[in-house]
């Protein structure tokens, strides 16, 4: 891992000079700002049971499904399309270093964008002058969920980019995979037909991978090691498959 930091700083710089990054960032901040404004309007009209922070993180899936593919679709697909992957892998770097650096840079940006939304809560606290609006428990839990789940989501985006040399295909594939993971589990979790005897194991798997359920636990301050294991092992698996995918393309070049 001798060259990881060189590659990581290069990848981060490349992401910061890419127009796609700024499009993703603008869309994300505009969308999250809109959600936050709507939440404030709702709370100013009628009293609510949940804190604004809990509600804020309920719509995490939309930016995750759109922004993550935008940030990751270019990373390996573009290298392959231009052929620069060949020059990169004929220097003393390993495929693992390349994939991890690309993952690290995309994750850094994803986390930084979410991190910048702390400003919304700071502004609310500053102008309302009421500490109750800044419910630190759900806020910290929500951001912790974003940080942990982001690892897996970004790794899925990197994997999607590793299987094709077409950025658009990588973007769509990443979006579909993330939507299947996040929304598919949610849609199936309430299905009664899954509760039949034979399908019980399937239901338990869906329950284990139920991202919305994880979010609710994190927001309540419950940091379950099973959830952490799910995201960490998922991240590791997606990255290992990305490395295999790059190496397999080399073998069959």
């Amino acid at each position: 891992m001798k060259h990881f930091l060189t590659l990581l700083s290069h990848e981060t710089r490349m992401l910061l000079v890419s127009p796609a990054t700024y499009i993703a960032a603008t869309l994300f901040l505009a969308f999250m700002g809109l959600i936050f404004t709507k939440i404030l309007e709702l709370y100013s009209g009628t009293p609510q049971e949940l804190s604004p922070a809990s509600v804020y993180f309920q719509l995490f899936w939309l930016p995750a499904c759109v922004m993550v593919p935008l940030l990751t679709m270019k990373c390996l697909a573009e290298e392959r399309r231009l052929g620069t992957i060949e020059t990169l892998l004929t220097t003393p770097v390993t495929t693992t270093e390349v994939v991890l650096a690309k993952f690290g840079a995309a994750y850094f940006l994803y986390a930084a964008l979410w991190g910048s939304t702390v400003g919304f809560f700071y502004i609310l606290r500053k102008f309302s002058g009421d500490a109750r609006y800044l419910d630190s428990g759900p806020l910290l839990g929500g951001f912790l969920f974003i940080a942990v789940s982001g690892l897996f989501f970004v790794a899925i985006g990197v994997f999607a980019s590793s299987v094709t040399s077409n950025q658009s295909v990588a973007g769509i594939l990443g979006c579909v995979m993330l939507a299947t993971l996040i929304l598919g589990g949610n849609a199936l979790s309430d299905s009664t037909w899954l509760q039949q005897g034979v399908l019980k194991p399937v239901q338990s798997v869906i329950e284990y991978a139920h991202v919305f359920g994880h979010r609710d636990d994190f927001a309540r301050g419950v940091v379950d090691t099973r959830h952490l294991l799910f995201y960490f092992s998922g991240t590791a698996l997606a990255l290992i498959f990305s490395i295999f995918s790059v190496e397999a393309k080399q073998l069959h070049a």
Binding site: T6, L7, H10, T84, T87
Partner: protein, 345 residues
């Protein structure tokens, strides 16, 4: 005391994928400091062989050693010993030239304090100083090629592998790149593939011709001419009887034979081709003897097959070998050697 291993040593290299054998038992050696040209038609296996040399692709069988280090078992070590410029010279579009070279230098483990002066040096050598702050995507083809070469020589590796470095360049740019490659002679071992055969002839010490995944000829351009054509050819414009010409020519070299003869023009002169197995130049002796024997000679020229002729003949010979059924006796075709194209001079 042990001998220094050659820069590149390839033995019985085979690469097969998708039912196609792209490289089929290639063997060759390149000495240190040598510049070797790699020739072959499209799909001959040049790029695949080069990619295997760099460790980017793995071979199906056979062995490749770079400076004595086996590529198959120590690919990381190999990557420290080579500078590689792939086909079409892929470069990141949105980086500045100096920024790109700095990044590549760091990846190639050039010490940080040496990297700045080394970048200045390669920018100077490749005449890139004027564009060092320009974005690569905005550079012309010639500059981009030079950025690729600068990157390949940046870490001063003992072996440089360049896949068609002069493709798409104008004659002026080709000259610059040719001088650049020639300046590496003796310091680095260079292996380049190209379709521009005069370039290879001028730049390279030795040529390897590859076709259908096999080495069909190798040696210096002069050796190849001898090996492929196996004879010297003289073109004359003479008047008079063929028998008188042959009799006079036999006084110089008994093996001289008339192989081609055109119809006489209005002045009675016709073009005659004489061939002999002798390799040394008989031109002057032939001219003197013919004139002494009162043979009317208007022109005499030794046909000098170009590398292009050698390349075409060598690749045609390999195709013939594959297409033709196996015959027990050695055919006259190989013994006679291929015909020199009419245009050769």
């Amino acid at each position: 005391m042990s001998e220094t291993p050659p820069a590149i040593e390839v033995s019985h290299l085979v690469k097969a994928y998708g039912g196609v054998t792209a490289v089929n038992g290639i063997s060759f050696t390149v000495a240190r400091g040598e510049i070797v040209g790699f020739l072959g038609p499209n799909g001959a296996g040049k790029s695949t062989t080069m990619r295997i040399l760099t460790g980017y692709l793995t071979a199906s069988s056979g062995s490749v050693n770079i400076c004595g280090v086996p590529v198959a078992t120590q690919p990381d070590e190999i990557k420290r010993r080579i500078g590689y410029m792939p086909e079409n010279n892929p470069l990141p579009e949105d980086m500045r030239v100096s920024e790109y070279l700095y990044f590549r230098g760091r990846l190639k483990e050039v010490p940080r304090r040496k990297l700045g002066p080394r970048i200045d040096e390669v920018l100077e050598v490749c005449d890139l100083k004027r564009v060092r702050h320009k974005i690569i995507g905005q550079l012309s083809k010639g500059y981009r090629q030079r950025v690729g070469i600068a990157e390949a020589i940046l870490a001063e590796p003992p072996v440089i592998i360049m896949d068609e470095p002069t493709i798409g360049l104008d004659p002026h740019q080709i000259l610059i790149v040719r001088d650049l490659i020639a300046s590496l002679r003796g310091r680095m071992t260079v292996i380049i593939s190209s379709h521009i055969l005069p370039e290879i002839e001028v730049t390279c010490d030795r040529v390897l011709i590859i076709n259908q995944g096999r080495v069909v000829a190798q040696g210096t351009p002069a050796d190849l001419r001898r090996e492929i054509f196996g004879h010297s050819t003289y073109r004359l414009e003479v008047a008079g009887e063929a028998a008188a010409l042959l009799a006079a020519a036999s006084r110089v070299e008994p093996t001289l034979q008339i192989t081609e003869e055109s119809v006489p023009d209005l002045h009675g002169f016709r073009q005659v081709t004489l061939t002999t197995s002798r390799a040394d130049d008989l031109g002057e002796a032939l001219l003197r003897t013919l004139l002494a024997q009162d043979v009317r000679v208007r022109a005499l020229k030794r046909a000098h097959p170009s590398l292009e002729d050698v390349f075409l003949a060598a690749t045609r010979r390999s195709w013939d070998a594959v297409a033709a059924p196996v015959r027990p006796a050695a055919g006259g075709n190989r013994d006679r050697g291929p015909e020199i194209p009419t245009g050769a001079s």
